[in-house]
Structure formats: C-alpha cells, structure tokens
C-alpha cells in the first residue's frame, strides 16, 4: 500500500472541474455532473450518502460514458476511485458485455499517459475484452509505461520473444532481449525471474542498482527494548544526529559505526553489527538461544541521500521488525509489528526530497520472542518514484553491489 497524504477533497473536485488531466475539457452530462459527489468522498465515510446517489446516476450511464467515468479517477483519492471502479463494472454489465463497448474512445483514453495509471489499465482490460488482438498489439508500445501493470504485461511480451530466441538457440539475441526486459521491468517477481535467466545465460545484472537499495549506513546500538518499551522511547538519535558522539546504550556507551551490506537486495542485517555474546563453554549444544541474536534491543541507522533536485519520491521499506523512519528530521511513518513477514516494497511512503543532502534515519526494533522465526533484525530500504524506478543519490553512497 501507499500511505496517502490527506488533501482537501473539495479542492481536488474543483481542480477536476476546471480541467481534465490530458488536456480535455469535460462536456456537461449526467455523469460529469455526478462526478464531484463521488470525488468528494474521503476518510471515515465522509460523503458516502451523496456519493451513493451519484453512483446510481453513473452506474446507469451508457457505455459511451466510460471514458468520462475513467477520467473521473484522475487525481481522485483511492476511495473515490473505488466508487468509480465499481460503477464501471455496472456500466459494462448493463451494456451487455465487452463486445458493445466504445473501443476507439477507450483506446484514445489509454493512449494518454497523463490519465490515472489504474484507470488506463482498466481501459486496457475493457479493450482486451472487446478485441484481444488489438489490445495485445497496443502492449508493444508500453514497455516504459507509467502504469506498472501495463508495463508488466508489455515486458512479458518481450520475455516471450526472448524465450523463443532462447529456444531457437539464439543465445546472444535472447540475452539482449532479456536485458531489455530487465531494464524495463518494475515488477519484483518479473525482475527476480529475469535476473535468474540472464545469469543462467552468462549475463550480469545489478539488482541492487536496479531497485535502488541503499547499501551504506551509519549504525548505532543497541538501545533497550525490554518489554517493547523502546519503540515509544526517545533515544538520542531521534533528538540530535551527532555521528561522533558516544551514546548511552543498553549495556553502556555505544558509538556510530559504518555498515555496508553486500546483500544484492539491500538487506541490512543488524545482527551482524551486534552479535550476541558467545555462549558459555558449558552451554548445551541444543540450546537454540545460542543461535539467536540480541533480544529486546534497538538500533538506529542513518544515511545521507543527495538528491539532484527537489522532487517527489517514495521511500520503500521491507522489515519484519518494528520500525520508525524520519526524513530530514521529520517523522515519515512507524509500525509496531514484529516477525509477521518481510518483502520488498512492503511499505511505500510518499515523501518529498529536497535538492542536496537528505537524511534518512530508521529505528529498527527487536523484540524478546525466542522462536525460530524471530531471529531476524534487519531491513531493506530503497528510494524510487511512484512507478518503482530507482532514484539514485548523487555523489554519496552509491547503490551498486560489490
């Protein structure tokens, strides 16, 4: 999920009425008249009653109104977009199915990449339902599409062609095609599968660089997290970042130290920086505790990210530990959950980078559970745009794997 910024719904609705993204101007119709009520919905059911009435109008529209309904998703909050998403289904059902849809106007909508990526993907699905061959042909121009899903399908076609070349013993051409697909893909599973294939063919890939994982950090710890109380506690790095200071840790003074992960998915294993004391000589070999890392502890990691410009970006994090993140001293998000799972891009946080140095600070908390699946104390973090394209820092820590 993406953690969305709150913005005034009324403001969004006004902007929508003034000019449709894509340069078009909405022609008044029952659908366009009803759209502001839908776009006015917001948190905790705000606007639901008005939206329900408007939904009936939109859902009763002819199929020719589909591009207007889809355009209504431009700039809408995710809840409003969902009201419209369900209306599209109703309109299509009422029209008698995909075969009776306005395919040409849907294709024109799809071609305008300024429209909402999900709305465009939905337009594509409608076109595909009506004319699969035409939709398939459209994918050829979508390898760099801002819609992650359209791009994924376009890349899948490139992979299929590469597979055929590989089957035909054209190894070099196949490898080039796989490399093209790898470069374009923003889908994690697709990227991982491509990396395996390329390596099998003798090629090289830079997964760390492709994703933009940050490898180099300064780290300090351990601080106390007994009974999980450290999550809410404010330790010195949250107040002042002085990388030369000796800080009061859980067991005495602690110092910042550099850490550089060699993991190509950017996983920073905090246990490596703070290994547990060696078990006593008379410890039982089967004592599972001896295999675990520290428990009830916290570490902070900080890195400087030099941005070439002021720009929107996403910080994307994976961690199975509780965590907090600050950008330039301001809290971005926090989550108090331990050992429920970790994956790439588990958390997506929209941020604004400022031109020049930006400080990213993460607090990584380890609890006191002693189970086989509670040893990990780690995170992986990258900076990218909303499509998932890596944003690399200038000058400072690069993200190239060694």
């Amino acid at each position: 999920m993406v953690f969305h910024r709150r913005f005034p719904a009324a403001l969004g609705a006004v902007a929508f009425l003034l000019a449709l993204p894509g340069g078009g101007v909405a022609v008044a119709s029952p659908v366009t008249d009803a759209l502001p009520a839908i776009r006015g919905v917001d948190h905790e059911g705000k606007g639901n009653a008005a939206a329900a009435k408007a939904w009936g109008v939109i859902a009763a529209a002819e199929a020719s109104a589909l591009p207007d309904i889809l355009a209504g998703m431009d700039g809408a909050n995710p809840i409003a977009a969902n009201w419209l998403r369900a209306a599209v289904d109703a309109v299509v059902t009422k029209a008698g199915g995909s075969a009776k849809l306005p395919v040409d106007s849907l294709v024109r909508f799809l071609a305008d990449t300024k429209h909402d990526p999900r709305a465009r993907r939905l337009a594509f699905d409608l076109v595909r339902g009506a004319d699969a061959a035409r939709a398939d042909k459209l994918l050829d121009g979508m390898v760099e599409d801002p819609s992650v899903e359209l791009r994924r399908d376009a890349v899948a076609k490139v992979i299929a062609r590469a597979d055929a070349l590989k089957t035909g013993e054209k190894k070099e051409e196949a490898l080039a095609a796989y490399q093209k697909a790898f470069s374009a893909s923003r889908n994690v599973e697709q990227i991982q599968a491509l990396a395996t294939t390329i390596r099998e063919l003798g090629g090289t890939v830079d997964l760390t660089g492709h994703f933009g994982f940050l490898r180099r950090w300064q780290i300090v710890g351990p601080f106390d997290n007994t009974e999980g109380k450290g999550f809410a506690a404010v330790y010195p790095p949250e107040e002042t970042l002085d990388l030369s200071a000796a800080l009061d840790g859980k067991e005495g003074k602690v110092l910042w130290q550099p850490v550089e992960t060699g993991d190509e998915y950017g996983v920073v294993n905090v246990n490596l920086s703070y290994p547990p004391p060696a078990p006593p000589a008379d410890a039982k070999p089967a004592d599972s505790d001896s295999k675990e890392g520290l428990k009830g502890v916290i570490a902070y990691a900080v890195t400087e990210f030099v941005s070439a410009e002021d720009r929107p970006a996403e910080i994307r994090l994976g961690s199975k530990n509780a965590w907090k993140i600050w950008l330039n001293g301001s809290p971005v998000f926090e989550r108090e959950e331990y050992h429920r799972g970790m994956e790439i891009d588990q958390y997506r946080m929209p941020v604004t980078l400022r031109k020049g140095p930006n400080t990213i600070l993460i607090k990584v908390c380890q609890d006191e559970q002693r189970r086989p699946w509670t040893t990990e104390w780690e995170f992986q973090l990258r900076v990218c745009d909303e499509v998932g394209t890596a944003i690399h820092p200038l000058g400072g820590p690069d993200s190239a794997a060694k």
Partner: protein, 400 residues
Amino acid sequence: MPRLPALLIATALLTAALPARSDDWLEFRGPGGASRVKEGSLPVELSAADVRWSADLPGRGLSGVLVVGDRAFVTTSDGPTQDRLHLVCLSTSTGKILWDRQVWATGRTMCHSKTSVAAPTPCSDGKHVYAIFSSNDLVCFDLDGNLQWLRGITYDYPNVSNSLGMASSLLVTADTVIVPVENDSESYSLGIDAATGVNRWRLDRPKGANWTSPVILAPGLVALQSKTGIEAIRATDGSTAWSYTDGADTVSSSALADGILYVPSNGITALTLDPADPAKQPTQAWRENTLSPATASCVVAGDALYTINGAGVLTAGDRATGKRRWQLRIEGPYSGTPVTDGKHLWAVNEAGLVRVVELGEKEGKVVATLDLGDEILCSPAAADGALYVRSNTKLHKIGR
C-alpha cells in the same frame, strides 16, 4: 409515462434477487457461528454426481460463501499484487455469475502464501452484502450489485494491517456492521452504520494478531474474541456489557448454541448466558482442555460439540459437561470449520476430501467421502439442501 420495453421489464424481474429465506447462510459459519444446519437437510450419501455445478471464479480466496435466496456471494482477489478485489454474485441454481463488482485495494495486500486477500467471509442482512478483505477494504452492495457505500479502513487508520494477512469475518446486527480489524499495531473493532458506512464507534482492542471472528449473542449484542478473552459489546454504541478475561485463542472462533457460548479458551470453556438478559455476566458451565480446536472452530448440534485438532482428530464432547465421548481420525489438515446437523458432520479437508461422519453416542464413523480434487481452505456454507465450498479457482455446489 413512457412505456418500458417488455424485454427490459422481463430482464429486471428475472435478475431481481428473491427475498432471503430462513435457511439462508448469511455469515461465517452460519447462525451463531455454530455451523449448525437443520437435521436431515444435507445429503448423507455423496458421489461425484452430487456436485451440481462447479463455477470458475475470477480470482483466488478462502473466504466462505453466503447464500441469500437464490444467490450465492463470494469474494476473490486477483492481479499481480492481488489488489483487484471482487465481490461475485452467482445463481445458486446454475452457478452462472450474475454480477462481479471490483474495487482496488487501498490497504496492504501482503499476506502469508497459504492465506489470501479474500480471506474474511462477508455477511448479509438479507438485503445487502457487506464484504471486507485483508487489505481492510470494506464494501456494501445490494443483492443486485448496486454500491451502497465503501470504506478503506487502512486508508483511514494507516497502521491497521497484519503482514501475515487479516481474516476476521464480518457480522451485521442492529443495523450495525461489526468490523474486527485487530492486529499488532493499530488494533480496533468498529461498529459501522449499515446504511451509510459511517462509524458508530471504534474500540481500541488488545494489540496482537487476531484472526477470530465475532459471534452474535443476541440481537444487538456481539462477542469479540481476542487473546485476552471475550468482550460482549452492544452493537449500537460499542459499550461493554460483560467481559471474560481468562484468555482465548486467536485463530479458532467461539460458537453459540442454545444460549451457551463455547469459547476456545483453555481447551473449550462453556459460558452460559443469562436467558433473560444475555448482556449480564455469564456463568461458566464447564472447562475442558482436551477439546482444543486447531484452525477450525468447534461446531455444536444435538447434545454434543465437536472439535478437530492439528492432527486431524475429530473429538466429540458432551455439551452438558464437556467430557470427551470419542475420537476419530479424519485425516487433516483442516482450515475450514465443518457443519453438522447433530446426526452427521460434513468436514472438508485442505486436500478437498468431503467426509460425512455419522455421529453416534459412543463413536463416529465415516459413511461417505467425496474427492473434489481441489484445495479447499474455506468453511463450507450450507443452504437449501446443499453445501457450498470454494477454492482458489472454483465454487462448488454439492447436494440438491
């Protein structure tokens, strides 16, 4: 008044949902969560011919099926990140999809590979269907697929989520939809106005992953289960009527039958509700630690209750005392809760084997087995003489 085309009128009449019947299946595990059906209402002898239809579903899931009149409702998810959320309506007579409504996930879709974004079972008041997903997207449609309202609970409260997946099912009572979204971080249960989708109340709940589902104790009174025990909550205002604090399971859910709440707590603990006022503190009838259920919840009918443990052993207990009567190995594992009419029990294991167990006083006996050849993780629904079970790809109707 303009004349409506005759075809349009005929179509409207054909597609308008029939009103709900008393034997509809409107929530997870049916009325009271007891998984109980009318005696003799389900087929005891099963063969492949009893599979009336198997419908392809547009996506995966393990939520249970609802049956409202002549319509079945089920949720699914699909897409590369499982962020396309479907509520699908099918004809119970043919298995044909009558409508399919989609929304996009606004919360996280990450979950353990065994579960699914479409894990919680929807509920219905007979006129509307309320559905929630692991992403905490909550929708309300009428039976004909008209959107009444929707919410994004994680959009509203960004730390409501569970990286293993959410699974607690919904209930509706006293015009309030009970929405448990309890987890390690921002842990709530909400009472949402069934008509508007706006909060009536939001309760802070114990922090901890919780996959259990609530139970209606009486109209307007629900039991919320968590690791700390049971809270009886008034649906209209969220106030607490009574608490049971001896702890409870966070996977298998409680079941209510004939005024007794069977709680998976220290095995099973039976709480007798005050028949004159279920909002009064119940009394503990018995506690039996040999009746510990695993994932599947206990089922209750006749004078016995039944649990299935992690080894696939079905245990019958005396409802009056909790004492164990007999055990029978029925090859698990089971994710879904069986249904029973007191004489027989219909259990579907994860491998898709439907077993009919004859429930005797001193022993149980498998009297029929049907292999669906499909992984089944849901709890079956039972209505109109048939069982409804779904997999990641299909919905099967078994019976009449």
